[in-house]
Homo-oligomer: 499 residues x 2
């Protein structure tokens, strides 16, 4: 076979795979937004069948041979080589898994999601527990087929953040614990920032009206991105011109929906701004979760919680809610949305306590996989950890263990990337501020020039490079968590007038 024939074969295979991946992504979005619950079984069984087709495509011996061949072929260019490495690596993860088991896992995954959904309706952990247990066992079983020398949890951590493992995350979270837990204690003891005006009654239709203005300010265009509503906001990217984001409005919280949307728009921009030549292949979709999260958090926290961000748009909010915000200055508003206070819900947590929520989940996952923690009574273990690190304890399952969909969805090892992403953002943000006048661009309603910088320095690469390589390309430096801790220390020392 000539080199070009090999490339043609790869292309055909990628095309097929991308067709299945596309429909599975749309099905997933559909399920989480509009699909009627009573039809779940019918759809899920068929989706599992299609996942099985993807499985077959991924581990097709002819393809594995082709990938090996291309990896050894001296004519193979660097980009193709990267693709082949990624595909090969992914195939090796599952090649020894019997297909029935893979499809059964996909079915279990759907059942587990449905059980979590129902458990949340009932606000009761008990009916979900057996599914969680099975999901963990299945994850362990699936990973066992890799015949890796690493532990299951090491493998899972590496899946979402290539290059990371327990040792490295332990180090990172040790720093989180050492540097942030004492800082949080100081903040708790300090004079609180006034946030009372944020949680008055804010008419949801007016919140929706503000959202329209906000997404315009973000230069977020419905031509390439749909904004829906779900209980648990998320973003799905189908291709360079198709991202879907959801938001959630809380009637007595004016900042939740905007900040959550700014976060999701960060994800959506990343998906949208990947070089379109990577559409439909692994370089356009296989980005590490940490880098993905760094983009959402950069928008949400580093930009979306800053005074220059709100200057042009805060008057719109004031006009919609004159009673609640008429006498609140932009400065007071921004201080309030940066206020820190230990709380129960991760997605509503402030920037400073957020990594603690993640650290707790990391410790729990690690324990669940090394056998020191059990799914039975996990709601209690959860509360003990919250009590220990944040001094708060959930009164209901929905406020505690049931708050996140991730475990129900089999995403073990995913949470830690959230905290890592925040740390990555700090490094990107520092470099961005060196190169463009971020504050002025926001004040002048030129947010698109900020996302252009991100496109040029981060987004367009997609999965062309590993996380640390992207960091180095964009900032000239490998990952350095100092940026993150210093940023938080500076910010909260100032906000709370700490010594």
């Amino acid at each position: 076979m000539t080199h070009n024939e090999k490339l043609e074969l790869l292309k055909q295979w990628e095309w097929k795979t991308s067709a299945y991946s596309m429909v599975l992504a749309v099905l997933s979005y559909d399920k989480m937004t509009v699909a009627p619950a009573a039809g779940a079984e019918f759809r899920d069984e068929r989706a599992a069948y299609l996942s099985g087709e993807v499985f077959d495509l991924s581990v097709d011996p002819k393809i594995i041979a082709l990938l090996k061949d291309l990896l050894e072929d001296p004519e193979t260019d660097a980009e193709t080589k990267r693709k082949c490495e990624c595909y090969y690596h992914d195939a090796m993860k599952i090649v020894s898994v019997p297909k029935e088991e893979y499809v059964a896992y996909s079915n279990l995954n759907n059942a587990s999601y449905n059980a979590w959904y129902k458990a949340r309706m009932e606000n009761d952990y008990a009916p979900f527990e057996p599914y969680l247990k099975q999901m963990i066992e299945s994850a362990r079983k699936l990973v066992s087929y890799r015949h890796s020398e690493k532990t299951t949890y090491d493998e899972l951590l590496n899946d979402y953040q290539p290059g990371m493992d327990i040792e490295k995350f332990d180090k990172f979270f040790d720093d989180v614990e050492k540097r942030l837990v004492p800082l949080i204690k100081k903040v708790v003891a300090a004079k609180p920032v006034d946030t009372s005006f944020l949680t008055q009654n804010y008419d949801v239709d007016k919140q929706r009206a503000f959202m329209k203005r906000l997404v315009k300010y973000l230069h977020y265009d419905e031509d390439w991105c749909y904004l829906g509503e779900t209980e648990h906001p998320f973003t799905v990217t189908i291709c360079a011109n198709d991202s879907r984001t959801t938001t959630r409005y809380i009637p007595d919280n004016v900042s939740s929906a905007p900040l959550s949307t700014i976060h999701e728009v960060g994800h959506a921009y990343y998906g949208h701004q990947v070089d379109p030549k990577y559409d439909g292949n692994i370089l356009g979709a296989g980005m590490s979760s940490g880098i993905h999260e760094s983009q959402s958090r950069l928008l949400e926290n580093y930009l979306g919680r800053s005074l220059p961000f709100w200057k042009p748009i805060y008057p719109v909010l004031q006009e919609l809610f004159p009673e609640q915000l008429g006498k609140v200055t932009a400065e007071q508003f921004v201080d309030a949305i940066n206020a820190s206070s230990p709380s129960l819900i991760r997605t509503e947590a402030d920037e400073l306590t957020y990594p603690i929520h993640v650290m707790i989940r990391y410790k729990l996952e690690k324990g669940l996989f090394n056998g020191t923690i059990s799914t039975e009574g996990l709601d209690k273990t959860w509360n003990e950890m919250y009590e220990k690190y944040l001094g708060v304890s959930a009164k209901t399952a929905n406020e505690g263990i049931l708050q996140d969909v991730h475990w129900a969805d089999g995403l073990f090892g995913y949470f830690p990337t959230y905290a890592l992403g925040s740390a990555f953002s700090a490094q990107f943000y520092a470099k961005m501020r060196e190169q463009i006048d971020v504050d002025r661009l926001m004040e002048e309603d030129r947010f698109n020039e900020i996302t252009d910088w991100l496109k040029e320095n981060v987004h367009r690469y997609g999965n062309r490079y590993d996380a640390e390589d992207v960091l180095e390309l964009a900032t000239g430096e490998r990952f350095n968590s100092e940026y993150y801790f210093r940023y938080l220390e500076d910010k909260y020392t100032k906000l709370y007038h700490l010594k």
Copy 2:
């Protein structure tokens, strides 16, 4: 192969096919509701590829042999026989079409939809015309592979309404012309019914609030049916427990959204109430368009425009809009939503003029396929017909030729089933009134007992029987259009005090 082995093979093939059909249905719903337009090309190309997979499955020689075999097998039960006949018939329609052509058609179909969508944005027929021309040529080409002795349009009519052809539709529409055009003229000359209050300013959010109450009244449960919003309302059924319906709110029209929704809910109930044992096979999804439309029109017109329907729910509407409707009685409101007046938009047309809109489209389609009418200048031909039969003429393309998506979507031969459906409903409705006290059930908020009657007598059969067989099972009589014409004549003679 034993009989049971044959059945098992059929089952496996049906399962695969149903997985692809399910995702194609979800993709279609997604495209028409939330999918960002800029991603259409990427998605559409892949959807076309998946359609190609369905094509391969449908014409697989092994399956065609199996179907023949089962049809000849004396052990085959009646239900399986019906399935095999339907599958075989569908396969014969496309078996000789080269796959490339089938996939190319699917791509053209998507491009044509996108062109129509854009043309509507520009309110200009010209950019859509070349696509319409190509769609007609492609339809003709695809049908030519059937090597049928019938004309292309006869074949297409039979596709959507098995058993129907030009001769039969000519006869039906001749009656429509003879009996309804003179009646419409009399109505035009009569003292008009007051409808002015229907088209005042009706806040859309309040309309949404009424919709919530209305769907509850219809016992329409979001557990099995999602209600979205689109410019052009439609319904998709995925399986017995998953229907999706859309609606559209018009700020200066209070009756459009409710009546359109009642219509779509009629479709959704039909899809939902098919015997679940037919889920995922052709008996659960291949119902004739005429019977489908009869169910939506039965709800919309025969029930949804009646006084007993509105008695329990009209006060809710009055309460939401006291200024506009406070002094309008339920009787006046119901008279107004039944008022007839020649107009331009089919989906907004009243019950009496509606079949004329369809007749015009039928005549145009017939002409387009027999070569007496051209796509060039079709907007003018359209207007001439409207002028001739209804005395009105579109001023813009969106009010005229661009108003319907059907042709853009390749649905030639589909329109006539709309009028036929209305006629079918009259026959079902007459029998229903004999057997249950329809008016009382509505007045007592027991709409579910009406849909139960429909489930028992119509819905549960799905595609188990042909349209006329279902009519006979439910009403004891083959199709008889007298019910329809008499119903309209009686109703409008009374409403307009005609002699």
